[in-house]
Amino acid sequence: MTEFTAPKPVEPTVYDLSSPGRQGAYFPQPDIPLADLPEDLLRQDLPLPELAEIDVVRHFTRLSQLNHGVDTGFYPLGSCTMKFNPKINEVVARLPGFAQIHPLQPIETVQGALGLMYETQEWLKAISGYDAVSLQPAAGAHGELTGVLIIRAYHLARGDHKRVKMLIPDSAHGTNPASSAMSGLEIIEIPSDARGNVDLEALRAHCDDTLAGLMITNPNTLGLFDENLTEVCQLVHQAGGLVYGDGANLNALMGIARPADYGIDVMHFNLHKTFSTPHGGGGPGSGPVGVTAKLAPFLPGPIAAVVEEAAGEEPPLYGLVNPEQSIGRVKAFHGHFGVIVRAFTYMLMLGEEGLRAASEHAVLNANYLQARLRDAYHIPYDRICMHEFVMEGRWEDVPDVHALDISKRLMDFGFHPPTNYFPLIVHEALMIEPTETESKETLDAFVEALLQIAEEAHTQPEVLKTAPHNTPFGRLDEVKAARDLVLCCWLPESASA
């Protein structure tokens, strides 16, 4: 039996660290009369912690050190593209010309920012093949909702009111059905065939004049490029429907394949995945939407545009325009502008060749991991993968070991676990996406850990069942956390009645 070191001490809460009378800042006596708060607004049951600045700084620094992030270690969370976010993105986003402007300033005074938005739209159009892009949506699922609302608006604008069905393959992202349901559409799941592609027979059965569209994730959540994609799009189009593309997996395709060329009519980009902007911890994300020409009038606005062409020495004048049949605003002001600055920086730093190389290495890294793990883990849809792949975290001869146990054990090696139990069409799924930013040494260390875990599963499964052992906390009781959800470490007396 392997020996493990004792867990490290756990950081106390700010309430535990509180000491009466301690204070972080002292205000000077005001030179105007003091007014007391009204009696009825004063609360006696609000135990605010009392700490000095150094206590607060050390507390939160120590807490941050308990986190795992892409800056501290490998983070192969499938479908999330946890690539390294270059620090120059942060430098550029902090330039005063970007950081200290206001969205209501006259456009003549923010030409750099508007030019950056315009150029970002142009780059996204070039990468995807679309005719128009809106940078408004706040993140991926928001982009999906926007795209589905555009599809709905398109049908309604044509007086085509029958179209209420949205088809969603079972290999799509889990947010797709939610986005369609939010838009008032009826959701129909389409199964995958034995090679992990959309089952064409099942698709044909639903292609009629009530079809609003189909939402496809390509590469799909198995990490596979759908070999039927062109035909899938044709079938939907022949029935009068539109195809939505979930662009979360675009990291496999940059500079290699353009979604618009396959017949996908509208797609969102995840700037926080493909284009290296902050992701975990709330991002915020950014989910621009690209569309073909016939859907361009419905995009949410405002969109950055050249409102006066360049003339001689004079640069162009950038402004904001609203598409004529726009579904309206989906976000305050211009989307998550600071995130867009980071994504544009990334595109410029890599350039066209660099973006293509990023996708090629993302695919190469995933295939390298898949090839090295194939003998120890079962890969149910086993063919050349794109930027990620899905293997089973189970063995028939040790039925008590589950994907969750493998993930927990990986934490002992300093790796973030892969995505667990998704997609649902693979038993005990472990979805692994290394991204292009990891070295062969990191990939090899990850493989060695997984090979050791596969051996432990057969020789000393209790090591997996009780993992993790080297983290500040051991195995958490997820069932109790879900059934007995308490987010406050104290409750005001008024709430306990």
């Binding site: 995958s192 997820e478 069932v479």
Partner: protein
């Protein structure tokens, strides 16, 4: 894994026990095992509703996933098992007994003929 011979089954892992003109409905031992620890049971239909075969009647959520429960037969809902809302773990411990979910007064008993018997259910291909 346990699949009682006196029950009927669906491809979607629901079971049906016929009691006179009433169908008692729950999810199978296989379903609860796949879901792992169930943490929420929510009903989409209520007592008195008329519901059709294939309608979503409940949602079962575990630490791994959320799954819809589809009505295997049409009819009027005459009871829902409210006890599962407070004790969802019963779905794991007693899927065919205490964890029945919904009782339906059959409007078309011939629908029962289209359900699977225990042997056919157990023989379903689970890989695709």
């Amino acid at each position: 894994m346990n699949f009682p011979k006196d029950l009927k089954y669906t491809n979607n892992d629901e079971w049906v026990r016929v009691e006179g003109d009433t169908a008692v409905i729950g999810i199978t031992d296989y379903a609860q095992d796949q879901l792992s620890d169930v943490v929420f049971v929510e009903y989409i239909v209520a007592e008195g509703d008329s519901a059709a075969r294939g309608d979503v009647c409940a949602t079962v959520e575990s630490v791994k996933a959320a799954a819809d429960v589809y009505l295997p037969v049409s009819g009027e809902v005459i009871a829902v098992n409210e006890a599962l809302i407070d004790a969802p773990e019963t779905v794991n411990s007693d899927p065919y007994g205490e964890a029945w979910m919904i009782k339906v007064k059959l409007s078309d008993p011939s629908e029962l003929d289209e359900l699977l018997d225990a042997a056919a259910y157990e023989a379903l291909d689970r890989d695709h």
